[in-house]
Amino acid sequence: MKLHEFQAKQIFKDYGIPVPEGKVASSPQQALNAAKELNGPPWVVKAQVHAGGRGKGGGVRVVRSLEEVKNAAAQILDKPLVTKQTGPQGKRVYQVLVEQGVEIDRELYMAMVVDRSRARPVMVFSQQGGMEIEEVAARSPELVLQQFVDPGVGWMPFQSRALAYSLDPLPTPETLKEIITIMGNLYKVFISLDCSLAEINPLVITKQGHALAIDAKISIDDNALSRHKDLQALDDPREKDPLDAKAAKYNLNYIRLGGNIGAMVNGAGLAMATMDVIKLAGAEPANFLDVGGGASEEMVRRGFEIILEDENVKAVLINIFGGILRCDVLARGILAAAEKMEINVPLIVRLEGTNVEEGRRILKESNLKFLVANTMAEAAELVTRQVSQ
């Protein structure tokens, strides 16, 4: 689960990572009121939306008068924000963060993620922070340092020193101390909240010599959310496609895509391979839907409904290889959905694996109209036929 910048900054504040003074606003007038309560000019007005590249997309404005604060907020809230991560349709912005501007001397980069091959959290740090960090990493890898955390000891002071003393030129001892404190606290945020990402880019050193998190990005491990009741409240369903949100509600791993072939598959790997097959057949998948291993009849029904609610869908391919998900459960879920809604598109069903006989029998004995594919290759052929019709 991604957090908004203002939510992440509140967490930073709670954990002793300094952030600029700021307030969140949902309207130009609220933005104006917020600016009045903050020191300025300058102020910064920032779109609160789950998408990177806001700066280049016009979602971050530095302004020097109260009037400009209001105008900037109005512009950001008025129309969808388009960045390289949102696609051309952009994303609607519901809130802006109004902050005091700061005078920036240097921009650093600091983040924590889990390194999968080492199975350890790692802090990534660079003295060349800012929007171009990935280019820095590709061009000058020696400027991007990593410190891996031994779970037996946690984050250690020597690791903070190894990173902070790499700064060239070296800041004052006071500034170094602030940066070192922020490193320890970022680790605490990461571990305490089960983060999959905690990123500060840029971490700036102000002209006054203070370290400050100018941006804040936190993602929470969805698998750990159930042990963080307080964080669940930070979810912003408006950030999701309505069908994605509905799928999330039923614990379905669904991503809406642009095509016209709906797909319901069990297992992420088989789902991806099924999408590949659809594409190779010359069609476009309308979605990725992994109903998962432990899917209940209810989840299958909801998943099927969600696929059919997508008006782009012209045919549906169900590709199930039963393992922990049993074919009979799948069949009953499909029938339960079919009872409640009309199915106007061709349905291609390919069932294999655990309890396959029972699943096939249930479908066969129902009133449901569907085409049977016995293999992936056959499924691909049928899809091609639907597309070319």
Partner: protein, 291 residues
């Protein structure tokens, strides 16, 4: 021969009294697996399909001499269950559970360093030696005893591959789902090394997917160390870019993880990569000869 488990393997099912645990215990027993014990704290004395239930893995080891475990406990308790088996000397631990928090797996990985346990999974279908034993949830009937080893990050995709292999006339020596999570107990390389030493295994099918760098590392290993024929498949060739872990994720991965990179890594290691999954069976016939 087979790797890791065989007909003598005695399995304890952790979480045996749960819905999935009970269902797959029945399935495993039906396949011929020696499910010797189950564990659910507080349920000692019960029986599930005739299998005695204990409160702890310690009791299961002591009373039934189990040496492998199959875990069905819920995600927030699964890391603890893995460590319990490992601390009791269980040698092969198969964790079926999906959705274990990543930081829990960081702890598990650290813990296992000090034990002799081999962890398969989590978020995996398990391991099967066709005709001998099945420790996991894969549908047994699609498998045939034979000479192809299968290693896969995916669950159901593995069934698809095995099904095609069987239909093409290729039986399997051992099939292992290593799991689809970011942190897993064993990698492609761990099992390739075992297949290398297993005289019964004459070729290997390796099923990868986008994300991480396990396939690239496996390619390097195969190029340098592995002489049996290998067929590869990478799922997600047409997938849109997945969740990005900020800049940090991209920096850490060094740009690896895309399907095309993996396909190239495998091909430049001399491995035949199947691009259309529907054609895997045919390709096996071309590469490995008549099954």
């Amino acid at each position: 021969m087979s790797i890791l488990v065989d007909e003598k393997t005695r399995v304890v099912v952790q979480g045996i009294t749960g819905r999935e645990g009970t269902f797959h215990t029945t399935q495993m027993l039906a396949y011929g697996t020696a499910v010797a014990a189950g564990v659910t704290p507080g349920k000692k004395g019960q029986k599930v399909e005739g299998v005695p239930v204990f409160n702890t893995v310690h009791e299961a080891v002591k009373n039934e001499g189990v040496n492998a475990s199959c875990i069905f406990v819920p995600p927030l308790f699964a890391a603890d269950a893995i460590m319990e088996s490992a601390s009791e000397g269980v040698e092969v631990i198969v964790c079926i559970t999906e959705g274990i928090p990543v930081l829990d797996m960081v702890k598990v990985a650290s813990f296992l360093q000090n034990t002799k346990a081999v962890l398969i999974g989590p978020n995996c279908p398990g391991i099967i030696c066709p005709g001998k034993t099945k420790v996991g949830i894969m549908p047994g009937h699609i498998h045939r005893p034979g000479h192809v080893g299968v290693i896969s990050r995916s669950g159901t995709l593995t069934y698809e591959v095995v099904d095609q292999l069987t239909r093409a006339g290729f039986g399997q020596s051992t099939c292992i789902g290593i799991g689809g999570d970011p942190i897993i107990g064993t990698t492609f390389i761990d099992h390739l090394a075992r297949f290398k030493e297993d005289p019964e295994t004459q070729g290997v099918v390796l099923i990868g997917e986008i994300g991480g760098s396990a396939e690239e590392e496996a390619a390097l290993y195969i190029q340098n160390e592995f002489r049996k024929p290998v067929i590869g498949f990478i799922a997600g060739q047409t997938a849109p870019p997945g969740k990005r872990m900020g800049h940090a994720g991209a920096i850490i991965s060094g740009g690896k993880g895309k399907a095309e990179d993996k396909v190239q890594a495998l091909e430049s290691a001399g491995i035949t990569v199947v691009r259309n999954l529907g054609r895997l069976g045919e390709t096996a016939l071309e590469i490995m000869g008549k099954g």
